[in-house]
Subunit: 443 residues, 2 copies
């Protein structure tokens, strides 16, 4: 009898493994358990479907349907939920769509249970008008609201998904209020960069309530530390935690935020049991500490690495920088590595330079502002992190910083980089080089 790989979770972390497993071990049986009804979809695309940028419904976000996976040889079981792991017996207990249960033996197990939007235990949090943004079923609900007579939308939290959803509902003509506990939106940026995001939101007509705490929800209203805010619909954008319940109950080692602990090969504390995606920890390449980020790119890469290893190969996932990017109306926003606050918290003696430049040569008619901040370690001169807020074409340049940080480059080495120049793309001193040069002056 051939070996069996069981995958729990039909999205990126799990399904990215399949082709790698098959390449390594063509004869293996692969069973994928998915408690929902979708596989291999782009949750990151939800705001763009809700906002009407992407037409044609949530189906457009599905890269590969269960049917297609089955045609390719994977036994995808939709509506089947893994409810318990027996690591000693190497078996998963599964609840089927008819509420029956059965036991499934495995030779290798890949846990890819994803993340869960954080829902703080506030009064009224379970009211039906309070929505997370995680699955395509969430997207279907939100789209229905967006296309309906929805007037007042409140977004709680101002992370990437929160602000993208705020923009989506503005595009639908709703009145949108963003409530953020911190003094600035997007706390993954330093406050001075967050201010630029606040400006972009205000320009777009979003009502921004920073320094305000949410106390609870009542039908039609959000109760805050600063009064009652009307709401037909609440979107939770407070972040996503790891969905590691099964792993925890089975006794697998967990770490930060209870995310499943894995080694570089994505293997958990139990040999033959692997994990990938939002449910597991990563190592931060700058701080060398374990971290939890829920990002689709990591899920895809980790799934691929797990699949290669399950298939008998040898691959590693070296770690992450927390690189993230978004576009809020006309403003592009990105970050990588450590921000100033994170660098300090991680024990680095760091300085930060922030410079103003433009997305094209300054004499171009469509030059737009572009602010670059780099965080640099005193002494070594090593770049620890970077943030960019700016106009069209600004944010994806963060990748240059990501490559430089991964390579352990100093600010001097970044200044020396042979970055592309032509007037439609930057001034002769690239904004990233200008930021590095400014940092050198501070060192």
């Amino acid at each position: 009898m051939s070996e069996r790989v069981v995958i729990i979770g039909g999205d990126a972390g799990g399904m990215s493994a399949v082709s790698q497993i098959r390449r390594g071990r063509p004869d293996v049986e692969v069973v994928a358990l998915e408690r929902g009804r979708w596989t291999s979809y782009s949750a990151c695309g939800i705001p763009y479907v809700v906002g009407g940028v992407v037409k044609g419904g949530v189906e457009r976000l599905v890269a590969r349907t269960p049917e297609r996976h089955r045609e390719l040889g994977t036994d995808v079981r939709i509506g089947h939920e893994a409810i318990a792991l027996d690591l000693d017996a190497r078996a998963v207990d599964v609840r089927d769509p008819d509420d029956g249960t059965y036991r499934l033996d495995y030779d290798h197990l890949l846990i890819a249970t994803g993340g869960t939007p954080i829902r703080p235990p506030l009064p009224g949090i379970d009211l039906p008008f309070v929505h997370g943004v995680q699955t395509l079923d969430d997207a279907v609900d939100l789209l229905e609201h967006a296309e309906g007579p929805c007037q007042d939308v409140v977004v709680v939290g101002s992370g990437y998904i929160g602000l993208e959803m705020a923009e989506a509902f503005v595009q639908r003509g709703c009145s949108v209020t963003v409530i953020e506990q911190a003094a600035q939106p997007m706390v993954t940026l330093d406050p001075d960069m967050g201010t630029l995001v606040a400006e972009a939101l205000l320009e777009q007509g979003v009502k921004l309530r920073c320094g305000v705490g949410v106390k609870g929800f009542e039908p039609g209203a959000v109760l805050t530390s600063d009064g009652v805010v009307d709401a037909d619909l609440v979107v939770l954008g407070i972040g996503v935690g790891p969905n590691s319940k099964l792993a925890l109950e089975a006794g697998l080692a967990v770490g930060v935020k209870d995310a499943i602990r894995v080694d570089e090969r994505q293997e958990t504390s139990c040999p033959g049991v692997w994990a990938a995606g939002d449910c597991c920890e990563s190592r931060h390449l700058v701080s060398d500490r374990p971290v939890h980020f829920a990002l689709g790119t990591y899920a895809n890469k980790q799934g691929r690495v797990a699949g290669i290893n399950i298939g008998g190969g040898d691959a590693v996932f070296p770690g992450v920088l927390g690189t993230a990017i978004t576009k809020i109306c006309s403003r592009e926003i990105a970050r990588t590595g450590l921000n100033e606050g994170e660098a300090e918290a991680a024990g680095f003696d760091a300085v930060a330079s922030r410079i103003e430049s433009t997305t094209t040569a300054g004499y171009f008619p469509d030059a737009e502002p572009m602010t670059v901040k780099v965080v640099v370690e005193r002494g070594s001169g090593r770049v620890l992190g970077a943030q960019i807020v700016g106009g069209d074409g600004a944010a994806k340049r963060i990748d240059t910083c990501a490559a430089a940080i991964t390579a352990g480059m100093t600010a001097q080495q970044v200044l020396d980089l042979d970055l592309a120049y032509a007037p439609p793309f930057s001034g002769v001193w690239d904004p990233i080089a200008v930021a590095a040069r400014q940092a050198l002056k501070l060192l």
Copy 2:
């Protein structure tokens, strides 16, 4: 008496040194000799003034006028041409605007004489309707033609400046023919990528004559290996050579294309004599060979390095990748490092992967094609070069490759990079990662 630094050439290579010299040695006298009438300008901006994208005349391209330089303490001498160097006596012979000559002693000399558009010795090459694109005086001439009743423009050569000028005249409503000896335009790209540039030119209405040699010029016509082409105006875009005549005559060491040889500190073979910009050689970071590229970014950086060293500091210019970028109508084009042909010529055993991706998530309405090619060394897996041709937002991503190549990263390490992802910017697998992954399969 204070020391004197003499700078020959009032553009980027020379004038970038000034503030650094002054920072290191506030008391030094700085004399800058400029045979033309402009200082510190962006020659790269000329096509955009000629095309009418940048309004307000060539003055818009001047970052710092002679007057402003003088206010800041530099003795800028417009219309003064250095005509000979006496390295033993540490003196420059200068012709002044009234055709008189005088001798100027120096303690340090910075040669920043720039580049000269290549003018092959063809019959009629000196006819007044045959123009180079190098100085702002060239730009004034070209702008006059562009705004006049010019009908038929022929661009000889299809490098960056040539194609940018072709686009500029198309935007002015002229009929433009590009004549290129090679089988594809833009020979700094591999032919398979050059094909994509050819498509962009044809879409825009440029008549492209590849595989055609120019035999000479007659008033109103260009004589080619494939017949006569009508022309009111000819633009030479065959490349720029180093203007190293003075240095050669004085006996300074030269290298590739007679470019002035310098060490990492930008010092020539004669101590106290420095060179920066289009007149001098650079070291290629991948091939480790001396090369000559005429690029504004190098001039600025090399001038800065020379200035720091003249000022008593210690700076190095580590080398170049030949990173270049342009935008031809809606198509963005960029390259860095070695292309396939160059890698072979440099003795590398290389493989190349070329992939098709999109500038946003594929399900986005404005997703545009983006082709990425990476050249990778067999065995080591090291990335040697990259090329990108694609829609809006595609080309500046070449900087990520430039950083990776500078760091000596392998294709696997590029695949592992934590590159930014959100649907408005790329698919979940960044196009550069996809190219790296494809290269891994070939290795």
